[in-house]
Structures are given as structure tokens and as C-alpha cells.
């Protein structure tokens, strides 16, 4: 690699690459910036001067969206649903992954295949039977009815990533632990889990993001306004008659702000985690 680094001068091709990449950055960021700009204007300003900055920052849009759009409640519901889902699915998923990746039993690869089939099955396919079953059990219109399928549908991805991670650990580690008198549970909780922090982060982030953004299941299962999650609440603004752009965008900004925050905190971990051997085809 040293030989490669000796070329200090920037070639024209490099310049061209940077230009292309920068144009793309504009393409990716511009719509988001436009959205924030609109969310701070009045509706009249949006029509009259689409490119101008707001003359007065209309923070009232945000207050309106937060209170009238039930966003506060929806945010809380989303946090509850995603939080519980995250904890349980990470826990169940990494336990199962540990048994698949590290323990010796005949059916382990078969069980792995069984879980991996789950990656190929869209939520939509089980929507109707689940809805029928849950409404018989009185579990529609309650957060628990969302949490259970969310956990289930997060498991395949978690297991896929965590198995890769656990397999990458040197087996001497566990041998040493066993000789020192660890039982299998201690091997898992005290050695495997703490050492796979990056893997847990990546899998956790994917689970969180996926469920935080899930729309269809939440839309079908929850009809009570006070129990809706964020993406469903946003659908109030859908349709040809939605012309109240400023408040709609204030709501959208509020809805995506937590994800952007989480993303900023963990974005580098994602790549590190994926690279560290979590994904191996």
C-alpha cells in the first residue's frame, strides 16, 4: 500500500470523481433542506417565493403539528414499541445465534436455514391471518399486538448478522473460558456478548430503524388514534386534499429527527460493524 500512497498529486480523474460525488451530495441533501425551509414558512410564502428563506421563522407550525397532529403521543408509542422490540429481539436473536454458531448439535444448520427463510418472506404475506388471529385474541389495537410481529420479523436479520459475528470469534477464547470454569451461560453473557458489541450495535440499529419506519402493519393493526405510531400518524397528511404543506413538513421533520439523531451517533459503527465480519454473503 505504501507504493500507492507515494502518488501525492491529485489526478484529473480524482477531481472528476469528487465533482460527481459532490453533485450527488447536493441531490441527496437538497430535498431535505427544502423540506426544513418549507416547514418554517407560511403557506402563502410557499406559493409566492418557493426558493426564498422564511421572512419570520414560523415555529408555530411545529407546535401545531406536535399538538394537533397527535405527534407527541405517536412519538411516545413509537419509542415504546421500538424500544421493547429492540431489547427482546436482540436478546432472543443473539441467544439463538450463539447456539447456532458456537454450540455443537446436528440440526444447527437446518435451524439456521429455517430462520433465513424468514428474510425472504414479506410481512404482507401473513398480514391477514395475523390480523384475524389477533383480533380474535383482542390484541389488535394494542401495542403488544405490534410488538410481537415486529420482534419476529426482526429475528432473521439479527440472527444473520450475529451468527456471522459469533463465528468470527476464535474458539480458543471459549476453550480458555471453559477451562477456567465458565458454564455455557457465562460463556454467552460474559464473553460472547460483550465481545460482539459492534455486531449488537449494527443489528440493533437495523432493527430499530426498520421498526421505527414500519407502516403497513401498524396501519392495519392499530385504529385507535392514541395508539398509532409515527409513520401512521403521518398518513393523516396523505391525499389530494392535503394542502397544508407547512404543518405537514413540520410533522415530517419532527418524525425523522430522532432517526437522524440516532444515525449521527452510530453511523460510523454501521460500516465498522458490517466490515468487521458481520456480513459474509
Amino acid at each position: 500500500m505504501e507504493t500507492l500512497k507515494k502518488k501525492k498529486t491529485i489526478s484529473p480523474i480524482q477531481v472528476l470523481i469528487y465533482i460527481v460525488l459532490s453533485v450527488l451530495v447536493v441531490l441527496f441533501v437538497f430535498p431535505l433542506v427544502w423540506m426544513v425551509n418549507v416547514s418554517l414558512k407560511t403557506n402563502a410564502e410557499v406559493f409566492a417565493s418557493p426558493f426564498g428563506l422564511p421572512s419570520v421563522l414560523q415555529l408555530g407550525n411545529y407546535i401545531y403539528a406536535w399538538t394537533k397532529g397527535y405527534l407527541g403521543r405517536a412519538m411516545l408509542n413509537s419509542v415504546i414499541v421500538c424500544g421493547i422490540t429492540l431489547i427482546i429481539s436482540m436478546f432472543l436473536g443473539s441467544m439463538a445465534s450463539f447456539a447456532i454458531a458456537r454450540m455443537r448439535w446436528k440440526l444447527s444448520s437446518l435451524v439456521m436455514t429455517y430462520f433465513m427463510i424468514g428474510m425472504m418472506i414479506p410481512v404482507h404475506c401473513v398480514l391477514i391471518p395475523l390480523f384475524v388471529r389477533f383480533s380474535k385474541m383482542g390484541m389488535t389495537n394494542s401495542l403488544i399486538g405490534l410488538i410481537l410481529p415486529y420482534i419476529t420479523f426482526s429475528l432473521p436479520m439479527t440472527i444473520f448478522l450475529m451468527v456471522g459475528f459469533f463465528k468470527g470469534m476464535p474458539k480458543e477464547l471459549f476453550e480458555a473460558a471453559c477451562i477456567d470454569g465458565c458454564n455455557i451461560y457465562e460463556c454467552f453473557f460474559k464473553i460472547a456478548l460483550p465481545l460482539s458489541k459492534t455486531g449488537v450495535c449494527v443489528a440493533g440499529l437495523m432493527t430499530f430503524v426498520g421498526n421505527w419506519n414500519e407502516l403497513l402493519l401498524a396501519m392495519v393493526f392499530i385504529s385507535d388514534t392514541s395508539k398509532k405510531t409515527l409513520p401512521v400518524t403521518l398518513t393523516y397528511f396523505v391525499g389530494p386534499y392535503a394542502t397544508n404543506y407547512v404543518q405537514m413538513f413540520a410533522a415530517v421533520v419532527i418524525a425523522i429527527a430522532p432517526t437522524i439523531l440516532v444515525y449521527c451517533l452510530f453511523s460510523n459503527q454501521i460500516v465498522d460493524g458490517l466490515t468487521a465480519g458481520a456480513v459474509k454473503g
Binding site: A96, Y114, T152, F153, M248, V262, T275, G281
Partner: protein, 295 residues
């Protein structure tokens, strides 16, 4: 050591919770959906077995289903081709630049983690006849088309628009998977090819490309399944309209199942969707030959 790792009781404790949940909430409903799809069943009645009638209706008598199938297939092919190509190119470019790699990476990946329901609203505004992009075009004196309500052509304009928005949103994800795979390739291989005098293009063709193939399988199947089950953007941008011209399988399923409450009929759509997903993943896994290399 060996005894500890063969501990049957521990294995059951580790596997059972996930396994039971997975079976009850995923596999049992799958079997049920097959049964429901053979029934006349709505929200008020009990399922009544009618054989293949739902499927016959679906394929002979349902104009919307034909449109939905066409749109979903278009969407899948477009997404697979565009996202895989652009994603891979971006990944290669980003692994070849020296500065600002993390910045570009994070920006391109950002939309993929945002809610597509929220972004659907944003893009519905951008492609509104009197707003967003058309305001921009009007500034240059161009009258923009009715992006989301044009209905002529084999693949209607709104579908192209939605497909491009999906490309915008998810290309970062594909890029990320490829970056992960490329950074896993050993540096010695690149050095060796450099010493042998290979050009960048040759290095890409004979070194990078074969070595990212395993990721191509994963990424392509996730990509195809993701676009077959696509719902959020379509629902929030056009709701399948105008006149069902932008319906895809998932929106059709939703309308039939939860607006008309035709559970049996919607189950048949679910089964079609499921079978398509399985076929696509099967094809992807069979068609991309993965040779294993020593790493």
C-alpha cells in the same frame, strides 16, 4: 469443553424462545394464508372452501391485479438494475478516494434510514403539479408535467417517478453492503495487482468484481424482495391512483384486504406475492455463481 458445547438443555434454552415465536407468528400464519386463499372469506363470514376460484378471478377478471403485477415487476427490475449498478459504482469510487470518504458515505446512506412514509410525503410535495420541482421548472419558464397523475404509456410516469425516488432512498443501502464487502478484500491482492501493472479498470474487472459476488447474492435478493413488497412510498405518494394505475401488489393487497375486507381474495394476492419472492430469491441464488477464494 466439548461436553459443555453439546449441552442439550442449554441449546434448547437458547433456541426455543426465538424458534417458538418464529413458528407461531410467521410459519403458522403462512400455512393459514394458503388455506384462506382457497376460501370465500370476508370480515363477517366464516371461511368457506371454494377451491381455486380466488386465483381464477385474480388472473382472469382483475384489471387492477394485472396493473399491479406489471408495476411490481417493473419496479423490481428497475430497482435491481439501477441500485445494484449505481450502488456498486459508488462503493468502488468511495473506496478509491482518499479524503472525505466517511462524509460521502454517511450522506448517501442517510435516506435509507429515514422513514419512507415521511419521505413519501416530501416527494409527493416535490412532484406536486404546482409545487416543488415544477416551481423550479417554472422559474426557467418550463411547464412541468403532471408527475404523479399522468396516465399514458405502458409504464405510467408516476411509476417512473416512484422508482427514481426509491432509487434515491435505497441506493445508499446497496452501496453500504458493497463497501463492507470491498473493505474485507485483502490489501495484498490490490498491491499484487498494482505491481503486476494492472490498470484500475482491470483491477475492478478481475479482482473486485469476482470478490464482491457473494455480497451480490445477498444484496440482490434483499433488493428484489424489498421492491416486490414495496408499499410505503406508493401509498404516501399516489395511494395507487389515479384510477389504480400505480397500484403495486402490496397496495392492491391492502385495498382488497383492509378496505373491502375480502380476506380470502387478499390472501390469494399474498400467496402470489410470497411465491414471487421465493422464486426470485431462488433464481438469484442459483444464477450468481459464487466461487470461493482463500481469504
Amino acid at each position: 469443553m466439548d461436553k459443555i458445547l453439546r449441552d442439550k438443555k442449554a441449546i434448547i434454552i437458547f433456541i426455543a424462545p426465538a424458534f417458538i415465536m418464529f413458528t407461531l407468528i410467521l410459519f403458522v400464519p403462512i400455512i393459514q394464508v394458503f388455506y384462506y386463499s382457497l376460501c370465500d372469506y370476508n370480515a363477517l363470514t366464516k371461511p368457506e372452501f371454494i377451491g381455486l376460484e380466488n386465483y381464477i378471478d385474480l388472473f382472469t377478471d382483475d384489471e387492477t391485479m394485472r396493473i399491479a403485477l406489471k408495476n411490481s415487476l417493473f419496479f423490481m427490475i428497475f430497482s435491481a438494475v439501477s441500485q445494484q449498478t449505481i450502488g456498486l459504482i459508488l462503493a468502488v469510487l468511495l473506496t478509491n478516494i482518499k479524503r472525505g470518504r466517511n462524509f460521502f458515505k454517511n450522506v448517501y446512506y442517510l435516506p435509507a434510514v429515514l422513514s419512507s412514509a415521511a419521505l413519501g410525503l416530501l416527494w409527493a410535495f416535490m412532484f406536486n403539479p404546482r409545487m416543488g420541482i415544477n416551481q423550479m421548472l417554472a422559474y426557467f419558464g418550463i411547464e412541468g408535467p403532471m408527475w404523479l397523475s399522468e396516465t399514458s404509456g405502458f409504464i405510467v410516469l408516476p411509476m417512473w417517478v416512484i422508482a427514481f425516488v426509491a432509487l434515491w432512498q435505497y441506493v445508499g443501502q446497496t452501496m453500504m453492503l458493497y463497501i463492507a464487502q470491498i473493505s474485507g478484500i485483502s490489501k495484498e491482492l490490490y498491491e499484487a495487482s498494482y505491481i503486476d501493472g494492472a490498470t484500475k479498470v482491470q483491477t475492478f474487472r478481475y479482482l473486485t468484481l469476482p470478490l464482491v459476488k457473494p455480497m451480490m447474492v445477498t444484496s440482490l435478493s434483499l433488493n428484489c424482495i424489498g421492491s416486490l413488497k414495496f408499499f410505503d412510498l406508493v401509498y404516501n405518494m399516489t395511494q395507487g391512483g389515479p384510477n389504480h394505475r400505480t397500484d403495486v401488489l402490496a397496495t392492491h393487497l391492502y385495498t382488497q384486504g383492509f378496505q373491502y375486507f375480502k380476506y380470502g381474495y387478499a390472501s390469494a394476492i399474498s400467496v402470489v406475492l410470497l411465491i414471487m419472492c421465493l422464486i426470485v430469491s431462488f433464481i438469484v441464488n442459483k444464477c450468481i455463481k459464487v466461487e470461493t477464494y482463500e481469504s
